[in-house]
Structure formats: C-alpha cells, structure tokens
C-alpha cells in the first residue's frame, strides 16, 4: 500500500537555525502517526512545508504519490489533506454553524441555506461524537469547545489525511480522551492521521507509529508497543526526565486566601461560580481539578479582580480584596499567572525588561516618583533572566520573540519574584515545553515552601495530582469535594470531575 503522505529528506534552515534536517516521515491510510517533540523541535516547520507555507531547501513531499512543489500552498489541500491548527482560525462574532460552513456554504439561490447548514453541523457533530451548540457564538465558548469546532471544520471537507497540530493543548482530560477516540474512529474508517504533540500519554494511547524530533532531526522512530513513556521522553529531550515532581511535605499554616460564598457569571451571563467556598492555607498548594467549563476560569478571574463578583467575598490574610481591580488585588500580595499570557500576562512588543515590571513599573524601586529608574530595571531583568533561566539573547529582546516556555517563564519570574502571599496559577504550563514545565513546577513548590498560599488551576490532571497538597474538585460551579493528596487517586478524581459521587 502506498503512503498517503511521504516526506523524504526534507531540510529547512532559517538564518542561524536548522529547523529541519533531512527529515523523513510517512503516513498511510488508516494509520495514526505521532510527530513528537518539544517546542522548537521543528514540528511546525515540517507541517508548514507540507502546506507550502515554508519552502524546504531540499527534499521532497509527495501526497498519494504526487510530488508537491515547494511553496505550493493549495496542493496539499486539493489532494484531501485537512489541518487543525494550534491557533484557532475562527470568526469570534459568528455562530458555530457559520464558522463550520464558512468558505463552502450550502446555498439556496444566492442566499446561504442556514437551515441546511445547521442540520449538517448537527449531523457532523453526532457522527464524530463532538458535541457543539450550533447556535452559540464562538466568542462565548471556552477554548476547548472552540478547538472542537476547528476539528469539525476540518472533518467536514472529506479529508483523507488529517493533520492535528497540538490539538490537545487546550483540551480537558475528558475532551482529550474523546478526541483520541475520534482519531481512532477516523483511522478505522481509513483516514490517515498525523498527530503533532508533545504529550507522551496521548502518543502511547493512540499512535500506531511515533516519529520523535529533537533539534530539527529525527531522534528516533518507534511505536508504543516497543517503548514506554520514559523511553519516549528520553528520545525527546535527550536525557532522563523526572516525570514525577519531587517535593517535601507541606507545612500549612493559617488560611491566607479565603473565598466565601462567591458567585460569578460567565460571559453569557450564566451563573458559572455558585456560592463557592474555598480556603488555601499558607504553605500549601491547592489544586483545582475539573472539566474545563465548570467555572474554573471565572473563579480565577473573580479572585484576581478581572471579573465582577455577583456576591460573596475574597479575603487575603483576612482583608477583603477589591472587585474588578486586578492591580488592587495584586497590590495585596496576590501573584497571578494568567491563563491567557499573550493577552494579559505580556506585552509582546515590549522588551523582557519592561515585561518583568509590567504591574509594578510605577513603584519603588522601579520608579522614583514620575521617573522610571533605568538602572534598577536592567538590574532586575538581568537577575531574573538568570534566576528563572529565561533563554534569551538579551534583556532588551521583545517578549514576542521568545518561545512559549520562555514567555511563560517571564510571567512566572515577574509574579513569583515579588513579595507574594498568594499565588494563583491558571494553566501555568499550557503550551510549554517539558524542560520549562519542570522548572515552573519547581518554582511553584518553592513559592509554597516560602510560605505562599498557592491555588493551582489546571486542565492537566497529572499536573494537579503531582503538585497539589490538596485537590479541590470543581463541578458545576461548586467545589464538590476536597481530597488530601494521598487519597486523590486518578480514577476517583476523574469520577468526581464528571459529577459522579465518589
């Protein structure tokens, strides 16, 4: 059987970097091939070559035996290759239906037949078991659901080969499992799947074959049958990685962060956090586990003063924090690693130096009255770049030029370098490479050991289970159960997350 996609000896260099060096990958019909590698290993460059958005220096790409000319942006699509992007390509103000049919709308005369379109979307979502509300506006939906729409959009176009670029980066464990099942179903129906990821568990769960990239080269080709997660991780980073976080016993003291009967609406004005109570004590990490969309995001935003509270209060060391005033909350010693670092955490066109003082630029020692203190800013940046292992050519480099992991380290460095009583970390390692994840985890533990109350919200159950001293399971806007780390076993937490009783 000939391969659907055959990439042979593709090499691509950018000034100063070899992004791909003589890489060969093939995908046959009915096969799931995982392309595994850390951020910056060359996965995206390779896929861009397939779609003609990058011109390889040498090597060839064939689809169903036909050679795709370098830089041919339509060739792959015309031959039945579909792509689900890491970054959404959705129109936020349009409905789910409109987004899915966009570009190929069912028509009646010169008008769009929205009824037929809606029916098609419902049929499509049932066929693949990807549930969506066809009439919801995309901007109101959580990221996980938006990702689902992206996948449906690609699936609608009768593809023979589906390329998924880090599709699970934003999904909950349940959604991830659903997606993995969808991938298996697709493969069973004869579609080839190229699955780009850096998550070992998912590779082990679905891939028929795994191609591991490291620094632009193929570090190894294997299959889940021949190896395990440790083996894959070693191939990926070229060294032994500690998947389990090492931390000492927590020594919790008095409650520092107290959330009392807090209620919050979501963007659609539906109750998302329902009279929630939660305490985080100094010196412990409380992990909030939950399926995305159960109010975690709203909870974090309300704590940090970014979303109006309907009722209830948030106390830090006994003092009430202001509503809808992120800076005021911050000034009370609440450090926040925001979920959307590009939107809230960073100004990408600013230097690392300026980003490191973004929420304290007007305070001593970074400013004396009206004047910014340039020497202190540089000192601060130089120290934090060193201390937090931010990989950058210079402190004057713009934050936007950094990789995802290093961007996040800038945010973490800024938030955790300040005098902090409470740390609220929302999805702190989303889209971050393995090396940086380890570092960020250790920083959160260090903050805990330094006496901070740490609230960790993550869609990665493994992250919660390995970091948290107590696990608070959130469902339907409430904390349904609080477990000690010792009793928080994966299966139990999963059931609680699904709203079942233990």
């Amino acid at each position: 059987m000939s391969a659907l996609l055959e990439i042979t000896n593709v090499t691509k260099t950018f000034p100063g970097v070899v992004a791909n060096e003589s890489i060969s990958v093939s995908v046959s019909a009915g096969e799931i091939v995982a392309l595994l590698g850390e951020n910056g290993a060359g996965k995206s460059t390779l896929v861009k070559s397939v779609f003609g958005m990058v011109r390889p220096d040498s090597g060839e790409i064939r689809i169903k035996g036909e050679l795709i000319a370098p830089g041919d942006t339509g060739g792959a699509i015309a031959r039945g290759v579909g792509m689900v992007h890491q970054h959404f390509q959705l129109v936020p103000v349009m409905t789910v239906t409109e987004n899915i049919i966009l570009g190929d709308e069912p028509k009646r005369g010169i008008f769009i037949n929205i009824k037929a379109a809606r029916a098609e979307v419902i049929a499509l979502s049932e066929k693949y078991g990807l549930e969506v509300d066809p009439d919801a506006l995309v901007e109101d939906l959580p990221v996980g659901t938006q990702q689902r729409i992206e996948i449906l959009k690609a699936l609608r176009k009768d593809v023979d080969l589906l390329i998924l670029d880090e599709p699970t980066a934003v999904l909950t464990p349940q959604e991830t499992d659903e997606l993995l099942q969808v991938m298996k179903n697709l493969a069973a129906s004869g579609v080839g799947v190229l699955f780009i990821t850096h998550k070992l568990r998912e590779v082990m769960a679905v891939a028929d074959r795994v191609v591991v990239l490291r620094n632009g080269r193929v570090a190894g080709s294997t299959s889940p049958k021949e190896t395990d997660e440790e083996g894959l991780a070693q191939l990926m980073v070229g060294r032994n990685v500690v998947l389990q976080v090492e931390k000492g016993e927590a020594k919790p003291a008095a409650p520092t962060l107290e959330i009392k009967a807090l209620s919050v609406n979501d963007d659609r004005k539906h109750l998302a956090v329902d009279a929630l109570d939660l305490e985080v004590r100094a010196g412990e990490i409380v992990g909030v586990a939950g399926v995305e969309g159960n109010g975690q995001r709203e909870l974090v935003e309300a704590i940090c003063g970014m979303r109006p509270r309907l009722s209830g209060e948030v106390l830090v060391a006994g003092a009430p924090t202001p509503d809808m005033h992120p800076h005021g909350v911050h000034a009370m010693g609440v450090s926040h690693i925001p979920e959307d670092r590009e939107k809230h955490g960073l100004v990408s066109s600013y230097s690392i130096e300026d980003n490191l003082v973004l929420n304290q630029f007007d305070r001593a020692p970074f400013a004396q009255g009206w004047i910014r203190n340039v020497a202190t800013l540089e000192e601060n940046a130089t120290r934090l770049v060193e201390e937090f292992d931010i990989r950058t050519p210079s402190i004057k480099t713009t934050a936007g030029a950094l990789s995802g992991g290093n961007k996040q380290k800038v945010v973490v460095a800024r938030e955790l370098s300040q005098d902090t009583r409470v740390v609220v970390a929302a999805q702190p390692t989303r889209g971050v490479d393995v090396g940086s994840i380890e570092f960020i985890h250790n920083q959160l533990i260090a903050a805990r050991d330094g006496g901070a109350a740490v609230l960790l919200v993550s869609a990665e159950l493994d992250e919660i289970l390995s970091l948290a001293d107590r696990v608070a399971v959130m469902f339907g806007g409430k904390i349904v159960s609080i477990l000690d780390a010792k009793e928080a076993e994966r299966g139990l937490v999963g059931r609680l997350m699904a709203g079942l009783s233990a």
Partner: protein, 350 residues
C-alpha cells in the same frame, strides 16, 4: 547592533522620500520643466541662505507640533486625524486672547494667549477622547467629523462674531504687541520651543511612568488594564495632550507669524502632521527632520515656481507620494500589531 537597528528603522522613511522625489521629478519633466533645476531652486531657497533657513524653520514650527500631536496618539494606539481641527481651534483661541485682552504686560499676556490656544486645542482633542473612552466611538470617525465642524465654526466666528471691524475678509483684528512672539536673530523663537517640546515628549515616553502607561495601552489594552493602568484615562490624556500641543502650534502661528486669526491660513498643517509623524516612525524626535523637510518645501514652493516654471502644487503632490510610500509598510505593521489585525494574521504560530 544598534547601527543595524537604526538603519532598518529609518530605511522606510528615507526610501519613501527618495521615491516620492523621483516620481515628482518625472512629473516635472512631463510638464516640460527641468526637474534638477526645480529641485535645486527648491532646496537652495529652503536651506541655502540664512533667510531661507529662517523661513523654513518658521514653517516647520507648527509642523513639529502637529507631528508631535499625531505621534502621541499613535503611541497610545490612537489615530488622531483631528490635529487640523485642534490646531485651528488653538490658533483661533490664542488670537482672540491676543487682541481682546488689553492692558497686560507681554510676560503675562503672551503666555496667557498661548495657554488659551493649548486649552482649547486640548478641549477639542478631549471631546474625541471622551467619545472613545466612554462610548467606544472610533477616534478616526470623531476627529474627522470634528475637523469639519471646527473649520465651519471658526469660519463663522472670524467672519461674523469676532470679525475685524470694517473688514470684508473673514479675519479677527490684529493681536496686540503684548501678545506677539518676539524673534531671536530673525529666527522665530517658537521653533526652539517646539524642539524642546519634542525632546520633552521623547523623554516622557522614554523615562517616565506616564509615558510607559500610554505606550502600554497602545500596545496591549488588556495587559494594560490587568497591570492597573486605566485605559480610559490613557485615551483621554493622549487625546488631550495631543490636542493641546496642536493648539499650541496654532497659537504660535497666530501670535508669531500671522498676527491674527484668518481661516485661509493654517490650512493643511494638521494633515502634514500625519505625514510627519509617520515619517518619524512615531518617534517624538523623528518628527523634527520631517517637519524641517516639509516646512522647507512648503516655504520654497513659490520661489521654485518663479525659478523653474513648475507649479507649486508639485510640492503637495510629492508630499502625498511621501505619505503613500511611508504608510503602506506602516499600516501593514500596525494592522499586525493591533488586536483585530492579530486575529486576521494569526494562524501559523510556533
């Protein structure tokens, strides 16, 4: 490294000017005149003599200020097209204070008249700023509309309410000597003040917390709000300060050059400010060379007509070409840097 960055930053404006002059030369040639002679005349009149330079710098003064007004907006993420209206308002208010208020010594009367110009210019800017901050109306729309309203309004005021007695032209009485800006060595002293102000604005953006606030809002509103910076206040400040500086430019024109308010003067100064700000890459110091170049060309256009037989409108044409050449890459970049633009151009990341 600094040198490389410098050359990349300033390559676009320099090329834009050169291309505009090259196309301009072609058009002059088609007219049947000698482009070399025309440009030689233009530049020798603008920069070749002490009196030429004095005239050039005089013309450049309001242009530095209107360029600064646009620049401050751009830094804060606003496109202030209303500099013309703000400048004209300032010109009118300063002229009114200059002729209507009697019996003050120059050291009080002159600053007072300029403060009138600044205040009224700022007020006009503030209207657009408030509409943006509190009602979310785009500043491009409101400033264009305000331009039309103000031009009609000052025309009426200068032609009826505050018209010079016995005059048919729409113009106010002449300002008093106590409100006239003195010249230093035959140079208009307003120019040095404008340079100082440009440096001051540059310093504010470079070194102060206020500058950092405006700039952060310009680059990422969500991050600014999150970091405790009031986006509304930044919009109000940028529009008011920009309007005030434009108003000062108008005031200096009335009190130092024209001697009264006359609606037929001051035309185009605010719009040249847009070209100058973009030529200067939204850098407050970058407006100075652009303002001098454009001021020189404006000042020497009539002499060029006399020497080379080229219509002075060729200068307008060249400036339009400069704007065209300099905005194309700038707009592309701006589009990418704004939130909407990022949504359009995103997709292939990491």
């Amino acid at each position: 490294m600094a040198g490389k960055k410098f050359s990349r930053t300033w390559l676009t404006p320099v090329v834009a000017v050169l291309v505009a002059f090259a196309i301009g030369a072609l058009l002059i040639y088609i007219q049947g005149a000698d482009p070399l002679k025309a440009y030689q005349s233009l530049f020798s009149h603008a920069f070749g003599s002490w009196s030429g330079i004095a005239k050039t710098l005089g013309k450049a003064t309001p242009l530095v200020l209107s360029g600064l007004a646009v620049t401050i907006g751009l830094r804060a993420g606003l496109f202030n097209i209303g500099v013309q209206g703000q400048l004209v308002t300032g010109a009118f208010a300063a002229a009114w204070a200059g002729y209507f208020i009697h019996g003050l010594p120059i050291y009080i009367h002159l600053p007072l008249a300029l403060i009138f110009g600044i205040t009224f210019g700022a007020g006009v800017g503030l209207i657009a700023g408030a509409l943006k901050a509190y009602r979310g109306i785009h500043e491009v729309i409101t400033t264009i509309m305000l331009n039309s309203i103000i031009l009609a309004l000052v025309d009426y005021l200068a032609g009826h309410v505050f018209q010079e007695p016995g005059q048919i032209l729409a113009r106010t009485p002449h300002i008093l000597p106590s409100a006239t800006i003195p010249k230093i060595f035959s140079l208009p002293s307003g120019f040095f003040f404008a340079i100082l102000l440009a440096y001051g604005v540059w310093w504010v953006f470079q070194r102060t917390t206020s500058g950092f606030r405006l700039e952060t809002v310009g680059r990422n509103k969500s991050a600014a709000w999150y970091a405790g910076i009031s986006v509304k206040r930044a919009v109000l400040i940028a529009m008011a300060v920009g309007g005030g500086i434009a108003g000062l430019g108008g005031g200096i024109e009335s009190l130092g050059v024209i001697g009264r308010f006359e609606p037929t003067f001051n035309t185009g100064l605010g719009f040249d400010g847009i070209t100058i700000a973009l030529l200067g890459r939204a850098n407050p110091l970058g407006v100075i060379p652009g303002a001098i170049l454009i001021g020189g060309m404006r000042g020497a256009a009539a002499s060029m007509q006399f020497d080379a037989g080229v219509a002075p409108e060729i200068v307008d044409l060249i400036l339009a070409l400069v704007l065209f050449c300099v905005t194309a890459p700038f707009l592309a970049k701006w589009l990418k840097s704004t939130e909407v633009g990022a949504k359009i151009t995103s997709g292939w990341g990491n």
